[in-house]
Symmetry: C2
Subunit: 312 residues, 2 copies
């Protein structure tokens, strides 16, 4: 019996010296809950796709991560959420961008995959479609946490200062705390799946879309190679088509998942980008590299014991 | 002296028996004008990126193609335009989605690439950003042509009939006429660039985003391999990450551009998708395969003589 789930809760400047024991315990408990949710699906022979959705829903529902409840705020003080999902067996995929009323954007991505002929829906249309298909909706203030609101205020102050010194709009906060969540799973039938969900960048504006809802950039799964979810400075992950690049390095260059993921992360770094990747292949081998101080991450397999980690 | 420009004006059910000599002459003249615009840049040693923009602008300004003026209408009777652009030298990229007020969406994509830290902007934010950076704006009725308006009415009638027979919303019109435009160029310095621009699908709704504004799916350029622009049923091109897949087949499997493009198009076809690709490598080799009745296409090189084709 071989199955596995690997998750991340975002890479970034997670410094041990700034972490309290209480906060660390809360993160580990949330990661464990997400792992157990996916394990519940996989252990009874359920599909990788359902395990990915189940674990991401738990992280979306937790205020700790930048996805679902606890999402960061845009420049206009709104929460605009993105998610994507892919089935490695069929290459079926679904994605939603700029969601403002779904409790679980990953469910929206799943509905796009299964109930529409499309792959990607954005904005009000995406909210409306998912709601029409029965997705749970929330009022926009559901996502709000005071910590994220404070982050927006600080980001705006910083931006105001920066904009005085340059002509470029500075809405890509290089503040290194991301918190995108993702999951990759291998089920007992040997099928792979991947999913990613995020609130994007604090203080984002102009309808910025990052890598998370983009099939190929933030998410990719192919039974012939591996399943991938990315987190980090999305722009760099889009330019190198990060998730698909990992997949093809495994498929065409026969690299191990470790070497493939590290190669792509090094390429992202060469463009000045930081972040991390989780990658799982059809043999259950996995890797979770990151080039930041830390990445919330965890895994669970047939033994049913969740393992979590935060720092290097 | 080696340089080249290859363009497409969309693949689809372009049947010779339905084409009048006048209409064919108009399409050929528009393609030739687009080729000459890009040639003007390349012949004097200008960058591939500028040649791509120049030729796409001509096709956006022509009412004949489904991009800029002449874009198809969404379900709500609006024109919502997408475009993307990539520089093979730096892997810099820019994209806009659901544009409603820019005369030239490809210029919007260029401004995102050069004047923001982002890669992709969508909706009103994308319009606002491009306008703030000096892009020419138009009133939404600028894009309107009577032919496209009639297409929407017909599509809606067909949809109404179909929806009576099924529960799925049928907003992916399988009507095989696309008309997305794209260009790939190689300049005298050996740099590659690619761009794509579209009005999307007739009768699209729910904020559907296709492959054209997605880096990796509809557009990709990498000096180490080739430049690619796609046209067709975007959902299938997203799932196989078509443009990036062509690029990696050239880069990692050392396939010729012909074999790489045909391999990817066959994969798209295996998912039931139709369309075409234009691909150009750093030696100036190019290919323009399609699996539809026709694809508006053309090329020009140092000899300065535009060549155009429509059917097989």
């Amino acid at each position: 019996m071989k199955f596995r789930l690997v998750i991340h809760g975002g890479a970034g400047a997670i410094k041990k010296e700034k972490m309290t024991p209480e906060k660390e315990a809360a993160y580990r408990a949330a990661l464990e809950a997400a792992l157990r949710a996916g394990y519940g699906v996989l252990a009874k022979g359920g599909p990788a796709l359902d395990a990915v959705i189940a674990s991401i829903k738990v992280m979306e529902d937790s205020p700790l991560f930048n996805a679902g409840k606890g999402a960061v705020f845009s420049h206009d003080g709104k929460n605009e959420l993105d998610a994507s999902l892919m089935d490695g067996r069929t290459l079926a995929a679904g994605a939603v961008a700029e969601i403002t009323t779904l409790k679980n954007p990953i469910v929206g991505a799943h509905l796009v995959m299964t109930k529409s002929k499309h792959v990607m829906l954005a904005g009000k249309g995406a909210d409306d479609f998912a709601a029409s298909q029965g997705a749970e909706t929330v009022s926009p203030d559901y996502y709000r946490t005071e910590e994220r609101w404070e982050e927006l205020q600080k980001a705006k102050e910083k931006e105001e200062k920066e904009e005085k010194e340059s002509n470029k709009h500075s809405s890509l906060q290089l503040e290194e705390k991301f918190g995108t969540v993702g999951a990759v799973a291998l089920d007992q039938q040997g099928n792979l799946a991947a999913g990613t969900s995020t609130g994007g960048l604090t203080n984002k504006r102009f309808g910025r879309i990052g890598d998370s809802p983009i099939i190929g950039a933030g998410t990719y799964a192919d039974n012939e190679s591996c399943a991938v979810s990315a987190t980090g400075q999305g722009e760099m992950f889009i330019r190198v088509v990060a998730a698909h690049e990992v997949s093809v390095l495994v498929k065409y260059r026969k690299l191990s998942v470790e070497l493939a993921a590290q190669t792509v992360l090094d390429k992202v770094r060469a463009f000045g980008g930081s972040g991390g990747l989780i990658v799982l292949d059809h043999d259950g081998h996995f890797t979770t590299p990151f080039n930041t101080d830390g990445m919330y991450r965890g895994t669970i397999g047939p033994e049913g014991k969740p393992e979590t980690a935060i720092y290097r």
